[in-house]
């Protein structure tokens, strides 16, 4: 079930999602890191970050809100400890980086670009731009593109740079086009959507950070729509689908909508073996439809009804 995304081959199309697998270590009791698609690491910033005050999460119907605030050790500790460990495990490390300014992204890229064993770099652009009134990079096509080009310059040519998009925009296709022009090799879609919950006792926002990112199956239709729209506009661009994937069929939906691979986030909290289990289930879903490789179903939902050979094989 290997797949290629932006020139890199992964053992399966199912990866962990950034921030939902730390740097992989804690999942080893539950799955084989070398056998899953990739370990996308928690977004790392230049310096160590304490993150936000608790409460950092609220459960919501078929979803959750989080407001972690990118807690992490900073890039140097990450490159010294986590990355080499992942490489030693035989995992495919996709390193996620996050910054507060163009300069920070550029510097992160420079350091990650020098580290051995990186399969791909994912750029989390859902961060406030401290140089632009705290506006989130991902919500502005121009700023988003600038971050990607700043990052791209620091990363060796053979390592793809994936831009991770936010769904919280009026027109995701415009952002997608901008980051591709900025030099992205592919797109990770989508990050969480901004949400809020109220605490029943205080009647104040339940999260320490007031608003937080909504994730989980609740947002799957929204994430799928984003993938659908971008694939429809740019079918040649590699897409990694993310958002509420819990089963092999969910993963298949993303492939059909146009993703070449997927990431599993929140579901890992329910079932820490999710990234491996979803791949197994996807294998069965493909077999059921007599598809020999995941590639075959990528974007199939865009073909006119009846033109795909896959349909006839299913009996559900």
């Amino acid at each position: 079930m290997t797949v290629e995304v932006a020139g890199v081959r992964y053992p399966t199309p199912v990866m962990t999602a950034s921030g939902c697998a730390a740097a992989g270590r804690e999942l080893t009791p539950f799955l084989d890191l070398a056998a899953i698609g990739a370990v996308v690491t928690k977004s790392v910033m230049l310096d160590a970050r304490s993150g936000r005050a608790t409460p950092r999460m609220v459960e919501t119907p078929s979803g959750m809100l989080n407001s972690i605030g990118l807690q992490g050790p900073g890039i140097d500790t990450f490159l010294a400890d986590d990355l080499p460990w992942l490489v030693k495990q035989g995992a495919q490390p996709v390193v996620s980086i996050a910054g507060g300014s163009l300069g920070e992204y550029a510097e992160l890229a420079r350091r990650v670009g020098m580290a051995p064993g990186v399969a791909a770099v994912e750029v989390n652009i859902s961060c406030p731009n401290v140089e632009n009134r705290g506006l989130v990079f991902a919500c502005d096509p121009f700023q988003a593109a600038r971050v990607i080009s700043a990052t791209r310059r620091g990363i060796p040519k053979d390592i793809p740079v994936l831009a991770k998009l936010s769904p919280d925009v009026t027109d995701i296709v415009t952002v997608a086009e901008a980051v591709m022009e900025g030099g992205a090799s592919g797109l990770s879609m989508v990050n969480t959507t901004l949400g809020l919950a109220i605490d029943p006792v205080t009647l104040r926002p339940a999260l320490g950070g007031v608003t937080g990112g909504l994730s989980g199956p609740a947002i799957r239709p929204l994430a799928l729509r984003c993938v659908w729209q971008v694939y429809a506009a740019m079918p040649e661009v590699p897409i990694i689908g993310i958002g509420g994937i819990r089963t092999g069929f969910d993963a298949l939906e993303f492939l059909a909508a146009g993703a070449s691979a997927v990431q599993v986030g929140t579901s890992t909290f329910h079932d820490p073996s999710s990234p491996a289990r979803v791949a197994d289930e996807l294998r069965s879903e493909l077999a059921l439809r007599a598809a020999v490789s995941p590639r075959e179903v990528v974007g199939v939902a865009h073909r006119p009804a009846g033109t795909s050979a896959l349909r006839a094989e299913v009996s559900m």
Binding site: G19, C20, A21, A22, R25, E26, L27, T28, P29, F30, K42, S43, M45, D47, A48, R49, S50, G51, R52, A53, T54, P55, R56, M57, E59, P61, S62, M64, N66, S67, I68, G69, L70, Q71, G72, A98, G100, N124, S126, C127, P128, N129, V130, G134, T192, L194, G208, G209, T211, G213, G216, P217, T266, S267, T268, F269, H270, D271, P272, S273
Partner: protein, 290 residues
Amino acid sequence: MTVTYDPLQVSGRVLSNDRVGAYHHLTVVAPGIAERTRPGTFVAMAVGGEHTGMLLRRSFSIYRTRSSGVYGGTVEVVFAVAGKGTEWLAGLRGGDILDVIGPLGRPFTLPRQPVPCVLVGGGYGTAPLFGLADRLRERGCAVHMVLGAATETRLFGLLEARRTSQSVEVSTDDGSLGVRGQVTTVLPALLQRTGAPVVYACGPMAMLRAVAAVAEERGARSQCAVEEAMACGVGVCMTCVLPVRGDDGHVRMVRSCTDGPVFRGDRVLWDEVGTVPAGTVGAPGAGGQR
């Protein structure tokens, strides 16, 4: 930082689920978990069934385990109905299937010497102390217990405590049993009388904070099992943090699922739980991921 024990994920069968005072006592067949359990560790249970809208597991201290038996190894927890997940758990019947991950987290540290120990439990927080008491007695430690709760029906394990401990003191907020007041009403005298150099505690945060303070005043160590909202329970999400001072003197936001739930009482910044204290490593972050 490190996963102390290799947790297992088990699809277990419910053996029994009984009311005990204000609580529910749930026994699940979960082979393999018993063998790995050390006092103070916990389990995370999936709630709501297959098509539930509740995505996150619920965590519970391990009350007892049996490595084997007619049905295979079992794990027992004691819980209060707090919301929709525990409500669902309370409705489980013998034979139902329950998905359990455990044991998780770091256990209580045991003393090297056979010293007298004081164990303080608030409400269902007493549950994990009985396994601890067994281990302590095995090492020749005298075990003294303090049980506290809002009211009599919210005490857990009083008979068991009386049967197995050297001494038992009880406090209730309303005075319905034992001393009227908090566990810390009786704790100073007990530490004095027993000369215990270490206090183990499990219960609400406010109680832990007070116990840690009393212990510190008396020159005793404390080991406190905390309860923070956890999304994953296994160390990957960073939701369950609280400010803890490390060996190097630096305060960090530390995961209570993998670095806890048991912490040294003198290391937790109790007054600043729910904040990022100034001076914490990496604080204050300008901007950042929502």
